[in-house]
């Protein structure tokens, strides 16, 4: 019996040797580059010293996490990350929806296409480039301050004032991502059955009513999916952007978890950095899984990413 089972598994393997010869290297690759780092997270529970190596370093249990949360700057980094993420979501989540709705109303297709092309242009540049550009634009001698002076106002230190810095961070973030984000909503809009609009016209609904009762509801599934996915990034708060725009003067509001991890790593406190990174990753995972679960429950299994 056992031998027969073994033989059948062997023949099955042999029959699929083509597929297996493809997937096995892929799985080895994934084990090495994705799952080995996950096991590498054990150093979050150790006092890792480079010269000792991962396995011989001494265990400290939750010591690193206690150190993190009793420190001054990690709780501050969590607070900053939360503030930035919440502002990003509340100010920026509907920007692509609005842009898509506006584009959807344009009847001249050439105009629509050119606007679209320009609005998702910023998506294709790194935050090194965009950061460099915005440091010039919002800087002391930049065009924004020139404009303010021209209108008789006093120059604003956008990049070194705590509140203004956050404003710049959020608006440039929306600026960079809204156009690209609108594409997915436009795709959803083009999938709406035109019969619905015809029926609404017969019922006497004007364009505004049509938008409210047909267009918006049909975007909700896409919005829920994107919302769930964005929760996974909730504790990330856009490292590339922050790192390339911040400076010492706004450190109190701009030091986020990612910049904290990098700083600890550069300071060779690898265990503490790994613990902070792990905290961030685990919370992100929990947020996505929970919100997906809730979305599924509330919609009777229709909504959700998986």
């Amino acid at each position: 019996m056992k031998a027969a089972l073994k033989r059948s598994r062997w023949t099955r393997m042999k029959r699929h040797r083509g597929l297996l010869s493809m997937i096995v290297p892929v799985m080895l690759f994934y084990s090495l580059f994705y799952y080995t780092p996950m096991t590498g997270l054990v150093i979050a529970f150790k006092n890792y010293v480079m010269s000792d190596g991962v396995y011989t370093s001494e265990w400290v249990g939750l010591g690193n996490f206690e150190r993190l949360f009793s420190s001054e700057d990690f709780p501050r980094a969590i607070r900053n990350t939360l503030v930035i993420s919440i502002l990003r979501l509340s100010c920026g989540f509907f920007a692509p929806v609005a842009l898509a709705l506006m584009l959807n109303e344009v009847r001249i297709s050439g105009y629509k296409r050119s606007i679209q092309t320009l609005t998702y242009l910023p998506h294709f540049f790194s935050w090194v480039i965009l950061g460099g550009i915005f440091l010039m634009i919002f800087g002391g001698g930049g065009p924004v301050n020139s404009g303010i002076k021209l209108l008789g106002g006093n120059p604003v230190s956008f990049l070194s004032d705590d509140v203004w810095f956050i404003v710049v961070l959020i608006t440039t973030g929306i600026w960079q991502s809204a156009g690209w984000g609108a594409i997915i909503y436009l795709a959803a809009l083009s999938g709406i059955n035109p019969d619905l609009y015809e029926a609404a016209v017969i019922d006497g609904a004007n364009r505004w009513k049509q938008t409210l009762h047909i267009t918006l509801p049909s975007l909700i599934p896409t919005m829920i999916t994107l919302f769930i996915l964005s929760l996974g990034q909730f504790l990330t708060a856009g490292f590339d952007q922050v790192y390339n725009l911040y400076n010492d003067l706004v450190f109190d509001v701009a030091d986020i978890i990612d910049t904290y991890v990098l700083r600890r790593m550069m300071g060779l406190d690898l265990s503490l950095a790994a613990a902070a990174g792990m905290f961030q990753g685990v919370v992100g995972l929990i947020l996505v899984v929970t919100s997906n679960f809730v979305a599924k429950k509330l919609s009777g299994g229709e909504q959700g990413v998986w």
């Binding site: 010869s21 156009g179 990098l262 685990v282």
Partner: protein, 291 residues
């Protein structure tokens, strides 16, 4: 279509508002271009700088004579070409078995791959892995970690699944194995999806700087974006001035040099963007977020 007066006015206001949004998207790049082409005195003048009033190429001459920028350019091109090629090849090889119904343990392996989108080891363990593999200062430290990105595998897998099954059946009757089916049938038929993945991957490689900042410590192997980061963000004047041999050419400021460096870095993307942007966009529809 009959439109009421109100709807017509709304239509015009809407188009005007969108025009303004588009201008706001374009302006920062226009400003950078103008500054990069301006003389030192013109660049320090206050104003919106919509176009250069006094043109000077001094900043470009300086940037282009900076050996670090040229080295960076070469390394970035190398990483982009090599990285995109290997990525495409690897993603196809990973996507094919996952797209086949007869693949044993298919859903388990798919989960193993998709899970990495939700959770990963993070910065420190990944850095230690690269170091332990001896990949510091090796171009493959910039290529391997993202080579088989789960998102791309899923997109290509979904596209493969949309191809008609009869193609595989007839190829099997002709005695073709999986490798031949992949390379002679699936890949040629998947050009639109693969073009999108290739473009995303090459833009990713062109724009990446953080990995190179961590893994590359030797300036001869450094990529363009990391040099750009040091010049533009950290205002590393020492690095900026490497190109000055002739002290009589001084018609630039640190701003114009930064702007010129930015323009030179984004030039390749700007050049291909109008022609290829439709492929960039296509992929979003191809993938779908759901499986």
């Amino acid at each position: 279509m009959n439109q009421s007066r109100g709807e017509k006015i709304f239509g015009i206001l809407n188009m005007a508002a969108l025009g303004l949004v588009a201008l706001l998207c374009l302006y920062p790049f226009l400003y950078t271009l103008t500054i990069s082409l301006s003389t030192a005195s013109e660049a320090s003048r206050e104003g919106l700088h919509l176009f250069p009033r006094e043109i000077s190429f001094a900043s470009y001459r300086m940037v282009l004579s900076n050996p670090n920028i040229l080295t960076g350019y070469g390394n970035t091109i190398l990483r982009t070409v090599l990285g995109t090629t290997l990525s495409l090849l690897g993603v196809c090889i990973a996507a094919y078995p996952l797209s086949r119904r007869e693949m044993p343990r298919r859903s388990m392996i798919t989960f193993m791959i998709v899970f990495t989108m939700l959770f990963n080891g993070g910065l420190v363990p990944t850095y230690l892995l690269i170091r332990n593999l001896g990949l510091i200062n090796n171009i493959f430290s910039l290529i391997f970690p993202s080579m088989l990105a789960a998102f791309n595998i899923i997109i290509v897998k979904n596209f493969f699944q949309s191809l008609p099954e009869s193609l595989v059946e007839s190829a099997r009757i002709d005695g073709a194995g999986d490798w031949r089916i992949l390379f002679t049938i699936f890949i040629p038929l998947s050009k639109p999806a693969l073009a999108t993945v290739a473009l995303w991957t090459s833009v990713f490689h062109w724009n990446s700087w953080f990995d190179a900042m961590l893994y590359i410590t030797d300036d001869r192997k450094q990529v363009l974006q990391t040099f750009l980061q040091r010049i533009v963000i950290e205002s590393n004047t020492q690095l900026m001035e490497v190109g000055i041999h002739d002290t009589s050419v001084v018609d630039f400021t640190s701003e114009t040099v930064k702007a010129a460096t930015i323009i030179i870095t984004i030039l390749p993307i700007i050049c291909v963007y109008p022609f290829l942007q439709k492929y960039f966009v296509k992929g979003i529809m191809l993938g779908g977020v759901k499986e």
